[in-house]
């Protein structure tokens, strides 16, 4: 019935046409797609830098690029991937699109602010892009002083301005989400009926709102130091460069949770849907998101175990870092318990969710290694750290992003993606990922420092494996890019609820009408109540 109507029915995509209707849109769904296009570009840009890095590392000598260029490559890779891809990735695309729908709202509380946030990201991105084209920047994504303030002769200012501006995009998105969750829930949508995706975004928004301003002021001080000789971090004046590190990590550790929490929210939705069971321990999972957000603000010192921090401070930060593992583990255990006796199907989103659980667990556990003072002194600034955070950010966050993208693709576009290709690419990504990053744990343990492009002969085998894995990974990322675009035209028409999922977003047509719902929904059930959905869903897939 819906299948036949889809051509004529008005929805958010055909309600208006033309460039202007997109660039001036206030519709959270369209803004979500604008973000999607933007961050995809940045993802492939960051990927290009990574490719060059991996090719250089094929041989122990520096033969492709000079040391200076290599420094720029890993800096621009990090800056692009973290600030312009991962931070906005899930919240600004899937969150923007689905958060209002999941709570039964017509839009976010501040649609114009939402559009402004996108423009800020674009403008910030252009600044950084300009810096990259003009000659690049070589400080590392961490901008440590005094190198970034006094010594680097590269485009620090333009890059930092870009990140500063993009930071406000992130702040305003978080603000918008918090107000929306507080004030825009549909009748009957109580806090404890909200999908866990929404809880995860609530926690993420708290971090965005509380953490990002600190990064902003820190970058501002770096800028002032470079531009006006205001020497807040300058040791020559008696200032303290380590203060910069404190301020930077006060944001940047919580920021890793900006990247991972939304992915956890996605995984909760997928696991529940494809095992047809409510999430085990819903309340625990919801609160674990919030407690990760809170605890995440107390552990920044684990990035500074070897930079003049006192042993006592180190011990406290070490202990607190172990503590964050608890809410993270709660999630993993509860997902696993949800699967127990579930009726599991292995659709693509579920494959990504499984990938997420496995790789996030690896990343989290190696995080505990690093949080242990003695081990960290041995492996800090080695490839072990590089492997650790890539397991979480690439293995975790990007898996979550791709899983969510596949899960909601039918809703966003009204088309199904080709399942066979999708499964193939999910598998390719999983294998390619492990081949790329697992050798890096060993490399790091053996003593290969990060950020070097010349290395002893004996490390070559592992580096070659890693580069080989990266090529597989690259293919894995290209495949979805192609078939998702292909599906826009040739994909099977999607029904309203192809997965038999429970969220409100599935109770409206695919793609959704301009104002999301024809009637404001009235919520009478807990989240993940499959008994009611089974009655409603007639045709599946």
């Amino acid at each position: 019935m819906i299948t036949a109507a889809v051509q004529e029915r008005e929805h958010y995509l055909n309600a208006s046409y033309g460039i202007k209707s997109w660039l001036l849109t206030k519709d959270h769904k369209r803004i979500g797609l604008l973000y999607l296009a933007t961050i995809t570009l940045f993802f492939f840009l960051g990927g290009a830098f990574a490719t060059l890095i991996r090719i250089e590392l094929l041989t122990p000598q520096g033969d492709l690029v000079s040391s200076e260029t290599y420094n720029k490559l890993f800096t621009m890779h990090g800056v692009t991937m973290i600030f312009f891809f991962l931070i906005p990735s899930i919240p600004a695309t899937l969150g923007n699109f689905f958060l209002p729908m999941m709570i039964g709202a017509r839009d976010l509380a501040f649609p114009r602010l939402n559009l402004l946030s996108w423009y800020l990201l674009v403008v910030g991105g252009l600044f950084s892009l300009f810096a990259m084209l003009a000659g690049g920047v070589d400080t590392g994504w961490t901008f440590y002083t005094p190198y970034s303030t006094s010594y680097s002769n590269t485009w620090v200012i333009a890059t930092a301005v870009g990140i500063f501006i993009a930071g406000f995009s992130s702040i305003l998105t978080g603000l918008n989400f918090i107000v929306t969750i507080h004030r825009m829930r549909a009748p009957g949508m109580t806090w404890f009926r909200m999908p866990l995706f929404v809880w995860a975004h609530y926690a993420t928004s708290l971090i965005q709102v509380l953490g990002t301003p600190v990064l902003a002021v820190t970058l501002l001080l770096v800028l002032c130091e470079r531009l006006f000789h205001i020497g807040i971090f300058d040791p020559a004046l008696g200032g303290d460069p380590v203060l910069f590190q404190h301020l930077f990590w006060f944001y940047s550790h919580p920021a890793v949770y900006i990247m991972i929490l939304p992915a956890m929210g996605v995984v909760s939705e997928i696991i529940s849907t494809f095992s047809r069971k409510p999430i085990f321990g819903y309340g625990f999972v919801a609160f674990s998101s919030v407690s990760i957000a809170v605890l995440g603000f107390l552990v920044w010192g684990h990035h500074m175990f070897v930079s003049t921090q006192s042993v006592y401070a180190g011990m406290v930060f070490s202990f607190l870092s172990y503590f964050v593992a608890i809410p993270s583990a709660i999630k993993v255990f509860n997902w696993t318990a949800t699967l127990y006796k579930g009726s599991i199907s292995f659709a693509t989103p579920m494959l990504y969710a499984f990938g997420f659980i496995g790789l996030f667990t690896m990343g989290g556990l190696t995080g505990l290694f690093l949080a242990c003072l003695g081990i960290d002194v041995h492996v800090t600034d080695t490839y072990f750290v590089v492997a650790h955070f890539h397991y979480i950010m690439v293995g975790g966050a990007i898996m979550g992003f791709l899983g969510g993208l596949h899960f909601w693709w039918p809703k966003m576009t009204g088309r199904m993606y080709p399942e066979g290709w999708a499964k193939l690419s999910a598998l390719t990504i999983f294998l390619g990922f492990n081949l790329t990053f697992f050798p890096q744990f060993i490399l790091g343990y053996l003593g290969m420092p990060r950020r070097y492009h010349v290395y002893p002969e004996e490390f070559q085998v592992l580096h070659v494996l890693s580069t080989a894995g990266a090529s597989v990974l690259a293919v894995g990322y290209m495949i979805p890019m192609i078939y998702l675009i292909w599906s826009l035209r040739y994909g099977q028409i999607a029904v309203a609820n192809p997965w038999g999922a429970t969220g409100l977003e599935w109770k409206t047509a695919s793609p959704p009408p301009l104002h999301n719902f024809d009637e404001t929904p009235i919520v009478t059930h807990e989240a993940y109540d499959y008994t009611t959905v089974m009655e409603e869903v007639i045709e599946v897939g």
């Binding site: 709202a105 017509r106 839009d107 976010l108 509380a109 501040f110 649609p111 602010l113 702040i171 603000l175 918008n176 918090i178 107000v179 507080h182 004030r183 825009m184 009748p187 709102v209 509380l210 953490g211 990002t212 301003p213 600190v214 902003a216 002021v217 820190t218 501002l220 001080l221 002032c224 006006f228 000789h229 205001i230 020497g231 807040i232 020559a236 004046l237 008696g238 200032g239 303290d240 203060l243 301020l247 301009l514 104002h515 999301n516 719902f517 024809d518 009637e519 404001t520 009235i522």
Partner: protein, 221 residues
């Protein structure tokens, strides 16, 4: 309940169901924004705290070179501007358009008086070579570095505050224009209300800056 029933107005945008909901949302949004501002200024206050506790004497000596009387007078100016802002909000609640405009203009004027005085003070620093950089010199102190740190913080903090005043001035100007166009009524005056919150916040920041920058030598005497 039909979904897209209502016409969009300023007081009731299409994403909201009721005026009260919209007002609530705007106010909450501004409060959250102010929290982000606290974190933003917080970074500088942290740096200040650390350096002042590292170099207490030098900070006190440098602080005493600032003109307390001018600073105090400026504080009074800013407090008065907060008062006129409150009057503007009250007039808006009562729907008195001309009173809104009058009080907003007064607030704006006081804001500019503050900035004028600030500019005068900064200029004094130029004359005295108290601008951080190669030309910096502070009489009678052996360690020039920490003295520069004090003035770095002085300029960073008052500069950031002044920037917020300028933004506030822009908001006030916009409000004045909109009020003259008759945008606000007793029923719909959220922008005035919310701008008021912002203005008071900027004011409060100064209430912290003034003692921290101007008065610390008194604490040691």
């Amino acid at each position: 309940m039909a979904n897209q029933a209502h016409e969009e107005t300023l007081a009731l945008r299409e994403q909201f169901d009721t005026e009260a909901q919209q007002k609530d949302a705007s106010t909450l949004g501004m409060w959250i924004f102010l929290v982000t501002e606290i974190m933003f200024f917080g970074g500088m206050f942290l740096a200040y705290t650390i350096y002042r506790s590292t170099y207490p004497e030098i900070f006190a000596v440098c602080s005493s070179s600032l003109n307390v009387y001018i600073g105090a007078a400026n504080t009074v100016v800013l407090l008065c501007s907060s008062f006129t802002m409150v009057l503007a909000v009250r007039s808006a609640q009562l729907g008195r358009q001309r009173a809104i405009v009058f009080n907003l203009i007064l607030t704006l004027a006081l804001g500019f008086v503050f900035l004028g005085v600030k500019a005068y003070e900064w200029n004094e620093k130029f004359v005295e070579h108290h601008i951080p950089g190669p030309g910096f010199h502070f009489e009678g102190i052996a360690q020039q570095g920490p003295a520069q740190l004090f003035f770095s913080l002085y300029f960073a903090m008052t500069g950031l505050h002044a920037l917020h005043m300028l933004i506030g001035g822009g908001i006030l100007t916009w409000l004045i224009i909109r009020t003259k166009q008759g945008a606000f009524t007793a029923e719909y005056m959220t922008p005035v209300d919310v701008a008021g919150l912002y203005w008071h916040f900027v004011d409060i920041i100064w209430i912290f800056l003034f003692p921290l920058l101007y008065l610390i030598d008194r604490h040691l005497k």
